[in-house]
Structure formats: C-alpha cells, structure tokens
C-alpha cells in the first residue's frame, strides 16, 4: 500500500505502471480499478484558470492511510495506491489517483469508489480557485 502527497505534477499512468512492477504480484490479481481526478476549466458555471490545493501535512497522509486500511478490511484487496497533488495546479493536471488491485472485479470497483468518496468528503484538503474575477475558497464539494 502506498499513499503519497505530490507537490509537483505527476503522470498517473507512469505511477501505476512503476508501482505495479515493483509489487511483483503478477498472476495474483485479475482486476485493477483506477480513478484519476483532474482539473477542469469550469466549476459552478465559472471559468477557472488555476487552482491551489492546501493540505494538513501529517494528518492528510494519516487520514488517507486510514481510508485504505478500512477498504482493505471491507474487501479482499491485493494492493492500493493513492496519490494526491497539492500546491498550484494547472487546467488538465491530474489531482488525485486511486488505484486498487484485487482478484475479482467487484472488490476493485467497490474499494476504488469507496476510497474516492471518503477522500472527497473527509480528507483534509482545501482548494482555492483562481477565476477571472479573482480567487475564491471552494466551500462545498461537487456532487458525485
């Protein structure tokens, strides 16, 4: 299991590939479900040109590790990888990657979604958007 906060842009595909190679669990998993959240250029009807993500160093990692362990208790998983950007983010940049390996597909799908939902609703991240009119702290999450 790996949870990491990224302060610079990352390539989700390269990260999955490298992580999967070092896992050395080929043949053990038949399923891998992943989710990548990336920065859109619009939110709540406004054009967003940039974004800054703040976190609580220490607590954020601890919280994410807790979510992954909880998922591991609920489903039979082979491995989990969670990466999350902080800092200044540009349109199109990946923000979050959740990747779950398991023997069968239901566990991978369910656990990946569970981790994402918890991450969105409870993990200590805060975002500030830069609009044409200035900056604003986002005070609520988008639905689903």
């Amino acid at each position: 299991m790996k949870v990491e906060i990224k302060t610079a842009k990352f390539d989700p595909w390269q990260e999955i590939k490298s992580y999967q190679e070092q896992m050395q669990k080929e043949g053990l998993f038949g399923a891998m479900a992943s989710f990548v959240g990336s920065m859109r250029d619009f939110n709540d009807g406004d054009k967003v040109t940039a974004m800054e993500l703040e976190h609580y160093p220490g607590m954020t990692e601890k919280h994410l590790e807790g979510i992954c362990k909880e998922a591991g208790n609920k489903w039979e998983l082979v491995d989990v990888l969670v990466l999350h950007r902080v800092g200044k983010i540009k349109v199109g940049d990946p923000i979050v990657l959740v990747c779950v390996w398991s023997a069968h597909r239901a566990a991978a799908f369910d656990a990946c979604r569970f981790i994402m939902e918890d991450l969105k609703s409870k993990a200590p991240f805060w975002k500030q958007e830069t609009l044409e009119q200035g900056k604003r702290w986002v005070e609520k999450n988008t639905q689903g």
Binding site: M39, R40, P124
Partner: protein, 81 residues
C-alpha cells in the same frame, strides 16, 4: 499546559496566521472553549468548522491535554474539481 494550534485555508487567512502556541492553565478546556479564547469570544465557533486533535477528527466538546496539537479548519473540498 502548552497547546499548539493550527489553522488552515480560509481560517488561516482570517486568523492572519497558520499556527499559535498557547500557554494555558491546568483547568480542563474543550476544543470549542479554546476557540473562544483564541477569538476573544468575538464569535461562537461556526457549525461548519472542523476540529482535530493530534491529527484525528474530534468533536468540539473534546477536552484538550498538555502537548496536544489542535487544528481548526473549514469544510474539506479535496479531490478533483
């Protein structure tokens, strides 16, 4: 007792700082009472402010202990846009 306090995001901006270190007496004090002291009771802690002690979410009526790190922050909005 010594309490370290952290503020994040919009709360950090309104407090004008990210961190405080407080020396308070040994009388029992809860997280929301700590908020009252920090703000000089100018405003009750808003319902949507989240609180943590030593990096674990806690309810505002939880008591703080000597050496604790207490954090106040607005609703989380992580993940993706």
């Amino acid at each position: 007792m010594t309490i370290r306090v952290k503020y994040f995001a919009s709360l950090r901006e309104s407090f004008g700082r990210g961190e405080d270190s407080l020396e308070i007496g040994s009388d029992p004090v809860t997280v929301s009472e700590l908020w009252d002291r920090l703000t000089g009771r100018k405003q009750a802690m808003p319902d949507n402010v989240l609180t943590a002690i030593n990096m674990e979410y806690v309810k505002p009526d939880t008591q703080v202990k000597d050496g604790d790190e207490v954090a106040f922050f607005p609703p989380v909005t992580g993940g993706k846009l």
